[in-house]
Point group: C2
């Protein structure tokens, strides 16, 4: 071994990395998410991690978050790399994808996308520079049936229920209800009202009321009505009557109430209290136009959304002259995962996927038999590690215990013995048949 300069390996802030036993838990999260998406017929797409900067900045707003690429040793013959950057979400690449492959897709197009995204932000709790997002969207040409306003949150609720999370609520609202209501009370700029009410979490009711009076210019009575609306919650379609009870009327409000009632009614079979109509939820500024969704942990209201989304008027207007409305949601899987890890709420198990450690006998013929037995068990769907050298059996068993392997298999170690399996948790050792033995 030659002495060389050592580069001390240190974690790079904002780029999470897990030990094998944590990574196994992450895989046991991502697998059912994928399976859940597919169980509703959503297809997988992946886009390159890299898009042209023109595409990434087509909406103009997020440019400060983008990581642009440069080749460490630029080649003057090829300046195009300077125009590339890493995607910061999966929505912009999806929009570009749909526009680019428009004629080859079947609409309504239902896709899921589970990929890493990158943001050049300062890292903080729940904010990473590299993280995994899980998105589902349905888009269609010109019109998306209301059906999907209920199906999308149902899918998300279903897959997140598989994750065994601490208590959380899926909040539902409708931007038409908000905008229609604010118009109905005579607000001149309903979007300004939405922007003010959207700050409830940050500045509280008093702060929002102040904003409505001073910045938005509402009368005291108008502001009261807005605050009353924002205070409404309901777990079923009857929320619509509560809203109507406030006495405000407009066509847009009526349309929004129909949509909200449809969603709450359609999701009525989900466990009581898991879906809440929450009239204070607005989700950002201009993007969403109908249903909006936001999931939050009950215990950590300040942690921010663990999933979110909504209905939008046009996905890919920056890339194609077609109207492509849609509904979609995103799960912030890295945020949730790292939060639970930090709270000590992720029970981690073994550090490898091995079900069975096959003991390697010293005798060469018996060792070959052990390899064959391992192959047979693998053929039956088990994950089987054949121990790598003829160490003392006790040492082989210790290796299994250190890796968290549940079972140790003893192939015949002498002529008068058969196959035996030891359960390391119980210490029980029993005779076993490679053709029929099962876990548990």
């Amino acid at each position: 071994m030659t002495e060389q300069k050592i580069v001390r390996p240190t974690p790079v802030s904002g780029f999470p990395e897990w030990l094998p036993e944590v990574r196994m838990v992450e895989q046991h999260w991502l697998d059912p998410i994928r399976a859940g998406f597919e169980s509703y017929g959503f297809c997988s797409i992946e886009t390159p991690s890299v898009e042209s900067l023109d595409v990434l900045t087509s909406k103009g707003e997020t440019s400060q978050e983008v990581y642009a690429l440069r080749r460490l040793q630029e080649d003057p013959r090829d300046g195009s790399d300077a125009r590339l950057g890493l995607h910061f979400d999966l929505t912009v690449p999806f929009a570009r994808y749909v526009a680019q492959h428009f004629n080859e897709l079947v609409f309504p197009f239902k896709r899921y996308q589970i990929q890493r995204v990158w943001r050049g932000e300062r890292p903080q709790e729940g904010r990473f520079r590299e993280f995994t997002q899980c998105d589902i969207d349905v888009i269609n040409v010109d019109r998306v049936p209301l059906h999907f306003d209920a199906e999308i949150p149902r899918v998300i609720h279903g897959v997140m229920s598989e994750l065994d999370l601490p208590a959380w609520t899926l909040n539902v609202n409708n931007r038409k209800v908000l905008e229609g209501f604010y118009r109905g009370i005579g607000a001149e700029d309903p979007l300004e009202v939405i922007r003010a009410v959207d700050k409830l979490d940050k500045i509280g009711a008093e702060g929002v009321r102040d904003l409505l009076a001073t910045k938005v210019g509402l009368s005291g009575r108008q502001a009261d009505a807005c605050m009353e609306l924002a205070g409404l919650r309901g777990t079923g379609p009857s929320i619509v009557e509560d809203i109507a009870g406030l006495g405000v009327r407009s066509d847009l409000l009526s349309q929004g109430l129909d949509e909200l009632a449809f969603v709450m009614d359609s999701l009525g079979d989900l466990p009581a209290g898991s879906v809440v109509a929450n009239l204070s939820i607005a989700r950002g500024l201009d993007y969403y136009t109908g249903s909006v969704y936001e999931g939050k942990f009950t215990e950590w209201p300040d942690f921010g959304a663990i999933c979110s989304g909504g209905r939008y008027e046009n996905l890919a207007g920056a890339f194609i002259r077609r109207s492509l409305p849609g509904v979609g949601m995103s799960i912030g899987v890295t945020r949730i995962f790292s939060k639970l890890l930090a709270e000590g709420l992720l029970p981690t198990g073994p550090s490898c996927p091995t079900d069975v450690l096959m003991v390697l006998p010293e005798d060469r013929a018996r060792a070959a038999g052990a390899a064959q037995c391992a192959a047979r068990l693998r053929g039956r769907g088990l994950n089987v590690e054949l121990y790598h050298q003829p160490d003392k059996v006790a040492k082989q068993v210790r290796y299994a215990a250190r890796k968290g392997i549940a079972y140790v298999w003893f192939p015949p170690l002498s002529d008068d013995r058969g196959h035996e399996v030891k359960n390391l948790a119980t210490g029980e050792q029993t005779v076993a048949d490679p053709e029929t033995w099962r876990i548990g």
Copy 2:
């Protein structure tokens, strides 16, 4: 829809992207690869896509391929981003990972890693700027049992056999055989000989012989011996006798022959001809020290390696003062996949994972029943898409056909009918029970 400037979405050269039906095939490649790795007890790790440039350039050679990051709008308070780059392989990140988490890992450490990597190269056939690699490695402190020199190619052979590839051969060689042989014939710089013989594919036998005579300074007899060795092939451990038959002796050669015989003997149960001892294979320059492996398509010898690897003396010498030898291989899954796609050898199927399209009846109560039936089938493990609006049944069936969905489920559409399923391939329609119906 407001008129806005359209950014024409065009593919970025070197960054492949697939349509949903191709992505589905890619998933059906990656899933068995992962399952195959896990069936031998290899654990999954993922590292950040981003490493510090110090880590990426710790070996100095590959700096021209690295994509460095810069924030599009640099923040002067935070200059550290300028020192980050995308990983160009999975070996350097793995080495950094093992050094960083050394005290938390169980050795021998068997890991697999399936991730994208980036190289700022000019794209060409089989060369991408972003592609997926599938690596397995076993590393250990101080010594890695020879057992793994056979297990690693066995795992790779097993998972690649699942992919239904055109004919390919796994070539095996041993660097100790080469170096020991060249020493045995009196070559002063065996590594120089290896570098010359490594060019066989590119410059042919005559070219290599010239190099050996002129650049390496071998006598005609020495060069003949080298060419004789490079010409040897064998499908079993008897290759060792053929090599010994050349009459050259050295301790290192003997050791290499023992290792090569062990590997060929251990893999003797794989299908005849699938593993070939090929004495012309050297795999790069200084990294590998024992067994080397290289998979190639029979039909496209010029396409380059589809999988490769070998044994190395020390993984993480740049990051930790411990000796960590290992054996590993990598599958170039994007290269193989895109080659078969280009050759028209990837039969693509449906564009979504849906097994069954559930027809949505117009009647509201029957529609609710259809949704319940869909949920029941999902609970039984089927991927079921509930159609999104009460279109005419013929239109719903057409939608299924366009997406390549195999079965259409008709819930009771009137009081005198039960559940029925239509197989779109055969046109056959039969009565079905949601509790027991199966595909096929």
